[in-house]
Symmetry: D3
Subunit: 245 residues, 6 copies
């Protein structure tokens, strides 16, 4: 009954979003009346790998039941978790809905390593991760709500993939743009990702100029948000060649 | 990927469960190693209508998004919420997964009235209900986690029906038996509903006898759980014709 | 720095709001893009006195400090709590911001009795009430987040009145319309109270008609929200003389 | 290492506390610098049986473990829960520490019935109760944090009795006075119970006078807390024979 | 109605507090009967900048409302947030009351940079910060309850400055001493700041001596808290010249 | 009434557990039907000291009361906290039950230093720690739920040692094996510690092999959990000499 169709995100959109912070992106969302697209309370496991940009691949768990979730055996049929690990496309961001379960790890080091090898761009879960001593050293960005030693089947049951889900109180549709940094994870609806990316890039650029003025001691009044005078100075600065960083 | 098939619950199973409390049913579940099937924290809106027994019809919401959830207009296509209201079969129990959203009502009085007219056996949501001044007087059992005036589209988006869901931390598959009373709501997996019903009925009967002995002043030691002597006395009492309550 | 000026609510507005439920009012607020004006988690102490309509008088507490909050003595200067009790105007609704403190009662029976005698229309607190055995029998609507025996000075310090406050996560300005029923408490900004009241009254009237049709067995499709056909039938019904309910 | 010895509470102390509300008792505790003796968040199951006064008998649970807590069998050795049920003295108040576990019932109807028959004065738990459909109709006051169908061994393990415990964030020593009404449950340390009872009784009496004046329309200024003039009027009223209420 | 007047903190008091930990300061507060002045749950953004000492400048937000909080435009009148950014005096600590809102950032990098340039000594909020990737690298201590990408106007409305506020459950009056380190943030009431500073300094000095003895293998009995013998040894150690450390 | 007797953990068991992660250990517990032995929500203070293995020494606090918990004086009798600090045996892990109290520090730097000198293997508390600026640099692993400046007697009262306790929702008996790493803290019941250690060691070894295959690009299907073919390859790899790390 959910009839949205997601376009793929263009490489230009991905590239522009990479140059924008989540703070900037949420201001663009607010300008479009969207106030509920930043997931609260997630943290990156590896402080050296916090940037994620890519389209969402969704995985949905429901709460576990002791008889449904025995320890895994070889020959078990592929479930939604394993389907994700082996099939989420390169470049996609695996977004997991656990209902906030913190007593089981969403994934451990072996499954994360497999996704990394396969080219998954990042992992976002509103639950916990396990094998954090290892995962936190791996070069793949992972955002989660905590650490938990027990395996996923302790209290979670994988149910389906690529359906719309809630993740940390935010709606996520397959194909939505996922963007993350140390402020957390933000979802940009697929249909407006291109325009948000463009406007966010421009906002970043002018705020770089603004931040320079603040460092020089200017008051924020008239500067931020920029009035006509500031915009004129910005245009001049831009024409003179924006610094590369 | 979830390949359970639910049998329908027999009328005998329904009838036996009607005569069992949720407390008794959870003891039967515990005997089968199942400790996570009682939904915590829900309360009945109408204290005169708290008993529910029937097969689960599931409705899943995800968090809302301002652009997806405008106020309803005539001619809107049927969404998962309205599909449930008009199509959940008579005798079924509508079980709603909201992710615990308490800032929007899952249903209001008009939709509940429609489900009541259509023969729905009860409503269970891990979110809030609205129009509680009216719904709490209606003769249909409704269990929820709170009251909230705003309509569902305030912060909820209906997404699909008859998929496995989490409700208040408990896994619910379409066709599972739902049983409720003032202790709350308990889910009995479809595949074991018949045997749980039978054993729960027998447990209720012997506990009726036990309760009578306690009222007469007997110690619970040897009585509860019943030892051989107590079981013999129970058999005699039963043969003599159990009081009609 | 907060330069809103509140008009008084007209008696017509008050009267129309009295005939609307909070559920209806929040639909009107949603139509105006306002999704955050229903206070979650409050309950009425007296189930026979749940309707409140009136302009907000605000009282703000901050957390207490042992040296600032000794037991009261005669001759203590009037603090913001006592100022409210003796001076909130007849017809006003006392809205109290406690930061969600549940270990101290906002008010006890003697202070509530005084406000009742003075004509206060109702009391709303995001904290707890004390002397609930008595207050729950008094004929004044009181909404709170819980009961707590200890006096307010146990962990609260009254600080000022008639400033904008947060109450249960909702902004409340002095003079905003407060409306409550068993769904909880809703705030209507002063500047739109008149139009919301008018539209809510009309919505209530058509929903009365809709509810009648549902009871007769009609499907909600086309009925709710009403399409042209339903609106025509409603107009006819209205012309024929609306039942007094 | 906890070397307090509890005196028994005199019948006079018990009788005086019966005539005081928990609100009054907490004011007396505040006057002695004790701000942390009211248990938050408990509610009475039977609204017609909310008053408790008596000395605490404590029962301590720890979290459960699947292997330690199988379903009960006849012949199981007496554990701390059953010891309490069969041995807590008549007149005592059973105070249970569960660590706030709401997924298992502390006691069900049969065990509560046994305690009632044996003369236990009331039950207070910071966890849940089960068999609420029955227990809520029994003539014994029970305060709890919720209802839960599953038996105690679902997630609780009974460990010992008559040790100091925390109940809902409040320290409770065996022999402390427990007092409850619709405001909740308050603990009075054994060593000051007699003096608190006396002062609370006197406070209740003067507040009865104060409440009468408020109903007649008097301002609370000078009245509450009472200044010399009010105290003189009170003395006169008292001499004239206090109304029986 | 809040008639405290704050003295400015002397440079000696500031200097002594700089040499005391928050742990030591709270022991001094406990000795004065004050148990509620440590804000729980805040963390420093920059682990290399955790020490704050200075007088509180308070900023109060209330919850946001969509119509009150549009994206900012040049020419908007100065609100309480911007007033703080441009006017909180050098050396002051900006203490922000958000009611615990974690879905909006209290401040972002540009406003923090402006406050840093202006000489603000630190920032404390019971809400979230945004632009954490940048702010966490800035040389100004910032304590917050989390990170959130969205701007403050997403769900916050700035209302006033320099009024008494609650911050994380603790009362803060303008001019109170704010002291922070990796244990969190502690408030010292203005009127006792000088004496607390003096006693805390002395306590730090003797605990330095105690810690040395513990490292040498001495038992804590008689040492901590120090008995007469320990105090004599300390006096000797002190006379011999305390290590500068 | 708790009649378990704990064997001491053999040095072989300790050694094997040191080579296992908590993730691996919880899989072994799950295989034995034990799903509730990982403590949620604790974090290590010193990221360079996160591994703990050793038998539990338990310390139980109850909530504090102002009159019971004055600031400490020399000559105070030894309480349960100080008993622990001076007597918990070398190699033991101090496990503290606080009921989740985050407003008082369980221990500060001087007491931790004493335990370190005495050879305690680690500290686990479901409450907060104080003197975190110092403790986080000490070479002893400490897991806690947060930081808090105030001393333990602010809101905690030490009551007894070496009794079974709940810690963070998990049952802990004296002598149970405690194992911790960056995933958190896991309890292994004393009676199964030896077999769990053996099986966990073997699981770690085969997962090392599995992880190598994943890094080489193999699919997890058939590999993890290992089927017969994988097991054969593993046996060969093992025979060829397992890498030392």
């Amino acid at each position: 009954m959910s009839n949205q169709t997601a376009s793929s995100l263009s490489s230009e959109t991905i590239e522009l979003l990479r140059r924008a912070s989540t703070a900037t992106v949420t201001m663009q969302l607010l300008k479009r009346g969207l106030r509920n697209l930043a997931i609260s309370g997630l943290r990156p496991l590896n402080l050296g790998a916090t940037r994620i940009v890519g389209p969402a691949w969704t995985l949905r768990y429901i709460p576990g039941r002791e008889d449904l979730n025995p320890p895994p055996k070889p020959g078990d049929p592929e479930n939604a978790q394993r389907h994700t690990v082996e099939r989420a496309p390169p470049g996609s961001v695996v977004v997991v809905s656990t209902g906030g379960e913190l007593r089981s790890g969403t994934f451990g080091d072996i499954l994360v390593a497999r996704m990394k090898v396969r080219g998954v761009a990042g992992i976002v879960t509103d639950g916990a991760m396990r094998d954090v001593p290892v995962v936190s050293t791996m070069d793949i960005p992972v955002f989660c709500a905590g650490a938990a030693a027990p395996p996923s089947m302790n209290w979670l049951h994988p149910i389906d993939v690529q359906v719309p889900v809630g993740c940390g109180g935010v709606p996520v549709f397959p194909g939505d743009a996922v963007i993350a940094d140390a402020d957390g994870v933000v979802i940009v609806p697929n249909g407006i990702a291109a325009e948000v990316a463009r406007d966010a890039f421009e906002q970043e650029r002018i705020e770089t100029f603004v931040a320079l003025q603040v460092k020089k001691g200017k008051s924020t009044t008239g500067l931020y948000p920029p009035n006509d005078e500031t915009r004129a100075a910005y245009a001049k600065w831009l024409a003179a060649g924006e610094p590369t960083d």
